[in-house]
């Protein structure tokens, strides 16, 4: 049976290189038909917000990486509901075309169901 792998994305999109490099690792694994599930947690929830204008700080948009997910067979991402609440992010404001966003309430038991966790 194939291993179940989860990628945890915990960083806001432009504060740390780990946000971008995490998504790059997810896409690389997906390109090898080993797509992990994706859980956006804590400040990682900010990655899902639309209307980002990173050009103002000389950054490339991270949303392009998220938009590429369905092309690599990732059609669903999970987001921690409490992380959204704590940051005042309305779940209705998060949308990635081609990707279904599912809220997770009990992240602990959710994560425990995976064989391997990649932490970014």
């Amino acid at each position: 049976m194939a291993k179940r792998t989860l990628a945890l994305c915990r960083q806001a999109p432009y504060g740390s290189a780990l946000a971008r490099e995490g998504l790059e690792a997810v896409l690389a694994a997906a390109a090898m038909d080993q797509a992990p599930d994706l859980l956006l947690l804590r400040d990682g929830a900010f990655q899902l917000l639309g209307d980002q204008s990173p050009e103002g700080i000389g950054q490339k948009s991270l949303q392009r990486n998220l938009l590429a997910l369905p092309m690599f067979g990732v059609e669903r991402v999970y987001v921690c509901e409490r992380s959204l609440m704590e940051r005042g992010i309305d779940a209705k404001r998060i949308e990635i075309p081609g990707v279904k966003v599912e809220l997770v309430l009990d992240t602990g038991s959710f994560i425990a169901a995976y064989d391997t966790v990649l932490s970014f």
Binding site: A17, A28, A29
Partner: protein, 130 residues
């Protein structure tokens, strides 16, 4: 048990990289296998041959190299992360027209697929730093 490690932190800036090395030493000493150490993000600096810490400080790069020689470890540095941060093999330095190469012996540059491969082929992946 078969382990792989993912190292995201540079040596000499946080304890994470040193903890990864000590974890690697401990698991090998206990008879476990180390399938691969994958250096990603700032962790790529662990493979820089030109780091020159003061003599009374821990030489992390040298310790990784010694462990690699002793156990024929697969120490893989993510090539994309390394290019961004200036850790280049002779070949990459030439290809990218940069004036110097600094990839330490015992480490190799490879793609992110090696991380996915490590996940697929190890019982445990342990992440340090980030």
């Amino acid at each position: 048990m078969k382990f792989s490690l993912a190292v995201y932190s540079a040596p000499h800036s946080s304890q994470s990289a040193a903890s990864a090395l000590r974890f690697a030493q401990a698991l090998l000493a206990q008879g476990h296998q180390l399938y691969r150490v994958f250096f990603y993000c700032d962790g790529v600096h662990n493979g820089s041959s030109i780091a020159a810490p003061p003599q009374d400080e821990f030489d992390l790069v040298g310790q990784w190299q010694a462990l690699q020689r002793q156990h024929q470890l697969d120490l893989v540095i993510c090539i994309a992360a390394a290019q961004r941060r200036g850790v280049l093999s002779e070949r990459e330095a030439e290809r990218l027209e940069k004036p110097a190469a600094n990839l330490a012996d015992g480490f190799e540059l490879a793609g992110l697929g090696q991380l996915a491969d490590a996940v697929a082929n190890s019982d445990r992946l342990v992440t340090f730093g980030g």
